[in-house]
Amino acid sequence: MKLLVCLKQILDPDVPARDFQIDPAAKAARRGGANLVTNIFCENAVETALQFREAAGGDVKVTALCYGESSAEDCLRKAMAMTVDEACLVERDGNTNPDAAAVGRVLAAAIRRLEQDGGAFDAVLVGRESGDWGVGQTGGVLAEELGRPALGFVESLQPGNGGATLRRQTDVGIEVAEAEPPFLVTITNNEDNVPRIPKTRDVMMSYRKPLQKLSLGDLELDSEEIRAGSSIFEVEEIFIPTDEVECELAEGDTLEERVDQLAKRIHEVVASIG
């Protein structure tokens, strides 16, 4: 079987609020001293794909795909260090924050191109949402562009019945599904798909694995619309909310006194609810 994982490079979401700034002209966050990292749900997706390969035991190949700037090569190298077999970077052109329609069309064209050369991908895995803008629309758009059935919020993928058995999270529990290839899933986190830390040897090996680079021109997608990257939505405005409040800390000489104060405050609120 063949699996493809879509990776997005984002500004490190762990940047503390006090260091976070907006660039009003770009209508986006200022990079400042922040690192660029792979979106966490994409790493969960890589981990899920690798676990599928391990469970299948046989001939499963995992490919990573990213539409991004040249720095996104780091994300793909890291995925290969996690033991993904091969990777492809489509070099981004134009809008630095393209909408889901542009990204979905680019990824779909790249997938078709890779399939021409190496056969169909049975499963495409994307993250449930990205840790920067978090719009979570790319998976759905990509499923439609590829004409594949899809399931969201999947936490595990197991080989079964010629296809895969999926487990996914809902607001009330878990659902199990059977999927016939080709299909698409969006991946969420659980305790079992925490991304593995690459071994030193695999980091070195990753530099020997194939990383294909494509341009929009190679995909015959070199259109104004794709480069403009905002056919369905665009950021109109962005600002930092000011919502800090004064916190009253429990005081007193002894722990007993401090906890007593805390208990009284909690009780006040609880009593007011009635």
Partner: protein, 323 residues
Amino acid sequence: MANVAVCVLGSLGYDRAAQGAAGAGRALAESVGGELHALVIGPAEDDAVAALATVADRVVVGANEALRDYQPEQALQAAQQLHAAGGGDYGAVLLGNDTYSQEIAPRLAHRLGGSSMADAAAIRMDGDHLLAQRTAYGGKAISIYRLKKQPAVVWLRARGFEPAPEQPSAGEVASVDLALDEPRIRITGREVAEQEGVRLEDAQIIVSGGRGLGGPEPFQELKKLADSIGAEQGASRAACDAGWVPPNWQVGQTGKKVAPELYIAVAISGASQHLLGMGDSKVVAAINTDADAPIFKHCSFGIVEDYKAVVPLLTEKLQAIAR
């Protein structure tokens, strides 16, 4: 733009999320002088349909029995056909924040040639475009998106919207038979997580635990604290990822968005992604060893102390007050 539609899963009925979506839809429809229609994917209980008819000008229900059992591909086909049956010229199609609505929204938008957006906390029309306000960068910023194509298919942070007002006369209800294909992804099993008490989204008081608890056992300690004040239990992503508590306890950007009267955060640092899920709480209290933890910038009162020392004593005192 002419009319506005609210799209509801029949199996979920006219729940709080659907009520909020209908409320947002009515306000939007009024702002442009259009009607509010309800598109119901699959047969619903009679009282849910009746309730929708009191708030919408028109209700179109997919009659196929197969739709009772949610399957994403069939739900999508249904939504697309209901959209046409309802008139098809909607400026906006609004959905609630349940899992099913979240997964079909972007795909439905694509099929209808529209624009999609997730988790909108406020919406309004600007000419032909819908403007949707939501959080960005894990809650560190607020963004407003311009949705450039109609219909704007948006799932809403529905609890943030007032339920739709009843109309003077009930809307007309039409039941239609839809053409559905066999799905190639089939949901075969559902395990509803055991849940005592009310859903986190509806809880008045929540006690949440984080990574600082160090393991699953302290959640038992927190349960006693929660029981002493009639609270439900939640957690940070770090605690869920560690497997200490089930994933549906997670509060935050990618977990539950809660809005209790009182939220007590125990050993949770207050990362923006967590705050995003509990920022609408009326009163927030924190127990944390680190006085510089960001949570203290977002709570009304708290204590800088080890939870191991605080929680048992606090529980005892609250039990005593309750007696």
